[in-house]
């Protein structure tokens, strides 16, 4: 009852502080995001760094809304799977032709072209060719290949190719261009494959604009044997914008990364800070209450730990151990308790000499009782603010470590995303959606705790109040 009353008193003070309420509001939002992450952004967070996981996403495209803001309509991600098959024979060998048509009516080029073909055949081997039929009746061969098998009776192959920047595709397009009297090296496009969608007349006038109309992706395969079949033919045309926050150069959905970064940041911040405060409190109180020589020694240890250069040592530890998130929390905790220890000690020293502790000794209270009943409860309020301020500190330090590429490599932490942005040249290629949101997220989460900490500190530590 007394406890409840104290909480109510505290709340009455707290609710007058706009900044504290703002912090609390942000906190509620980020906690909700963390809890709802599997619903908002379904994915397996441990596969963040697994490039295959993101292979079908467009690479490095901005958020959809940014497109609309510019008054443009982005191309959606197109998955083409409805193909038609035609089986014939050529020189006695079975030949299969597979057609995948698309009515392309967009003003921009697809950012990515990928296909996946499952080819089965009976015989020694198979020859295949992938080409595109354009609305202007021009045919561009994009890729050719042969499949062989050691098992003479049954063979199969999967042709999965990202044609966007594939050297073979680039060469083929170059050949086609020179056949119409153009030089691929003089044309400015984001990816060579896009030329396959370009309006040839305008291209000759140095304008790279898509040609609207019906395109047909075609696979033609001939088997050196009795039989041939295509069991799957899928073409993915990459969108020019993606989701709420776009993708990075590996196609990772940055919105998902941002969402999943939230619980990770909270976990790191809260756990580190709580552990640090608990250790610091116990250490400080012990040191201060015992006093004398051991206090001196314990405080010297704190002094030295405090003067250690935190980041360089974390770098060393991270390189030596290749840490998981738990190990990082441990390392951060090691560096995160000394401040509290100092404060707790100095308060413990004051309290130890205070009249009410002396009064407790005079009535015969044991040392244990004095520490637990009279000293710690009087220090805890001071540590609440430190607890709140320790969280952004831990989050920022972890982010710094991840930014250096030394975080837990499997998880989508905000620092890791920023590291990828830095190494991926996000600034130079103007991919603001890659590095602005994660940094803002770090700041917003940190702000929540800084604001709450400030408000709490003003209440429990009234010396800072405006006079």
């Amino acid at each position: 009852m007394k406890f409840a009353a104290r909480i109510r008193d505290f709340w009455n003070e707290f609710k007058h502080r706009k900044i504290g309420i703002l912090g609390l509001g942000i906190l509620v939002v980020i906690v909700s995001i963390s809890v709802l992450a599997p619903v908002i952004a379904p994915m397996d967070p441990t596969r963040w760094s697994d490039v295959n996981y993101w292979t079908n996403n467009p690479k490095g495209v901005p958020p959809t809304w940014a497109y609309y803001l510019q008054g443009k309509v982005p191309i959606p991600q197109l998955y083409l799977e409805n193909y038609k098959t035609k089986l014939t024979k050529i020189s006695g060998y079975p030949m299969i032709q597979v057609f995948l048509p698309i009515n392309y009516s967009y003003t921009e080029f697809p950012t990515m072209v990928k296909w996946k073909i499952n080819l089965t055949f009976v015989g020694a081997g198979a020859f295949y060719e992938i080409y595109i039929m354009r609305p202007d009746r021009k045919k561009i061969t994009l890729y050719t290949g042969t499949a062989t098998t050691s098992n003479a009776s049954q063979g199969w192959t999967v042709i999965e190719i990202d044609a966007t920047r594939h050297p073979d595709v680039e060469r083929r397009i170059g050949e086609w261009l020179s056949s119409v009297g153009l030089d691929i090296n003089k044309i400015q496009v984001a990816a060579p494959i896009q030329i396959a969608f370009a309006d040839l007349k305008l291209l000759k006038k140095n304008k790279v604009v898509p040609l609207k109309g019906k395109y047909v992706f075609t696979v033609r395969a001939i088997a050196q044997g009795k039989n041939i079949n295509v069991t799957q033919f899928r073409v993915i045309l990459g969108a020019t914008a993606y989701g709420l926050l776009g993708t990075d150069k590996s196609g990772r959905d940055l919105f998902k990364g941002l969402v999943w970064g939230t619980p990770i940041a909270l976990l790191i911040g809260v756990l580190t800070s709580v552990l640090g405060v608990a250790i610091g409190l116990l250490y400080g109180v012990t040191s201060g209450y015992i006093g004398g020589w051991s206090d001196e020694a314990m405080m010297r240890v704190v002094d030295i730990l405090m003067s250690l250069p935190k980041l360089p040592i974390l770098i060393v530890l991270a390189i030596a151990y290749r840490p998981t998130i738990w190990l990082i929390i441990l390392f951060l905790t090691i560096f995160g308790w000394m401040g509290i220890a100092r404060v707790s000690r100095s308060i413990a020293l004051q309290l130890k000499e205070s009249a009410f502790v002396e009064a407790a000794r005079a009535i015969g209270a044991s040392r244990k009782r004095i520490i637990l009943v009279h000293i710690i409860p009087n220090i805890v309020p001071y540590t609440v603010a430190a607890l709140a301020l320790g969280i952004p500190d831990a989050i920022l330090t972890e982010a710094a470590l991840s930014f250096l590429g030394l975080g837990d490599p499997s998880l989508p932490t905000w620092g890791a995303i920023l590291n990828q942005a830095q190494t991926g040249g996000a600034l130079g290629s103007g991919m603001w959606w890659w590095f602005i949101p994660p940094g803002l997220a770090i700041a917003v989460v940190s702000m929540a705790f800084v604001f709450i900490g400030y408000a709490v500190d003003e209440i429990v530590n009234p010396r800072l109040r405006r006079r």
Binding site: S307, V316, A399, A400, F403, L404
Partner: protein, 357 residues
């Protein structure tokens, strides 16, 4: 009676030495096995090359014999270098070598002048980092004193609120990220500043132009550090000043007819200086580390960028050397702050407890 300050500084110096030794020992313990592995692999390769190319290979009758001879030669080399002894014995030698600036050779990274000696690499980098931080810290100190004092003079005013808020926000933003944003805005979107580096390529020859070019390159990184740290520092000063401005001696000053400007910028600020310096001691390491990362963002070729390069190429000797010198710089900065503290506060200088009872 200078013993007060002397004793105080001696204590801090002992502390600093312990810190340096602790950091070096820690890096040695952490990296010992890695370095060993690398060294041994290198020896093996060298010996193999020697035997294969030196024509000695033909002397051996069987491959086994050759292998045994090779193994023996490798072991001899290892023994000669003392690598056969366990790490906890060798570490003291390594410690001594490190402390005396014998930092060995790098694995990958070379200095601008082409040297592979870690010391040379670092000696090139340190002045650049010191330049960046020295400039930032001095500007920071001066501005925060002015802003903090002005905010404290009118607590609750708009100006004061801005200082408080920017102080709080300073806790929340990662310096290096702010650097990324500024760089994007002012080097890519509106290209008025260079996209990185310390000087243009090729650097201007005339000293004045060189200095201007340097300043132009320094502008954004320094601004970054200021944006993030200034609010926080000013906020600390403001809080100290607000406390001080309610003290009796300030009332005395006002009662004496001291102009308000002098009350704030002399009487009160003088009193705030020692605790501000204490705060600086605590903060310096954190801006320094924040700034090391800022170097990376701005490709400022100092000790921070060296961390980045060394991490990417896993050049352990360079990382060890960088850690060592970072520690030394931080320790020196702190000692300077301590020394200044002793100078501005006569109570420390003359030894506390000077009052007669």
């Amino acid at each position: 009676m200078a013993s007060g300050l002397g004793r105080y500084l001696a204590l801090r110096a002992v502390n600093s030495v312990i810190v340096i030794i602790a950091v070096v020992l820690l890096t040695l313990i952490m990296f010992g096995p890695l370095v060993d592995q690398q060294l041994k692999a290198q020896i093996e390769m060298e010996v193999r090359q020697q035997i294969l190319k030196g024509g000695a290979f033909g002397k051996y009758k069987t491959p086994e014999e050759a292998k045994r001879a090779m193994q023996k030669a490798i072991e001899e080399r290892i023994k000669a270098l003392g690598l056969d002894k366990p790490w906890y014995i060798r570490i003291w030698g390594d410690l001594w070598r490190t402390l005396t600036f014998d930092l060995g050779t790098s694995w990958v990274i070379k200095s601008d002048s082409g040297s592979s000696k870690v010391v040379n690499i670092l000696l090139e980098r340190i002045p650049r980092t010191v330049l960046l931080f020295g400039t930032s810290t001095i500007i920071l100190l001066v501005l925060q004193l002015l802003l903090g004092a002005k905010a404290a003079a009118t607590p609750g005013s708009l100006f004061d609120r801005v200082v408080v808020l920017s102080g709080l926000l300073g806790y929340a933003f990662a310096t290096w990220w702010v650097g990324m944003v500024l760089l994007y805005l002012f080097a890519y979107l509106i290209p008025i500043f260079p996209a990185g580096g310390m000087v243009s390529v090729p650097p201007p020859q005339e000293p004045l132009r060189y200095a201007l070019d340097l300043a132009w390159h320094m502008f954004l990184p320094v601004l970054t550090i200021l944006i993030v740290a200034l609010g926080g520092w000013a906020y600390v000063t403001r809080n100290l000043m607000i406390g001080i401005l309610t003290e009796d001696y300030i009332t005395t000053s006002r009662a004496k007819g001291v102009p308000e400007r002098k009350v704030i910028y002399y009487h009160a600020l003088k009193m705030a200086a020692p605790p501000i310096l204490t705060q600086v001691t605590l903060a310096i390491a954190s801006i320094f580390t924040g700034g090391l990362l800022t170097e990376i963002v701005f490709s400022w070729p100092g000790m921070g960028l060296l961390y980045w390069d060394a991490i990417l190429s896993l050049d352990i000797p360079v990382i060890m050397g960088d850690v060592y010198f970072t520690t030394i710089l931080i320790v020196l900065a702190n000692l300077t702050a301590d020394l200044l503290y002793g100078i501005v506060d006569p109570r420390i200088r003359l030894g506390a407890g000077g009052a007669t009872l």
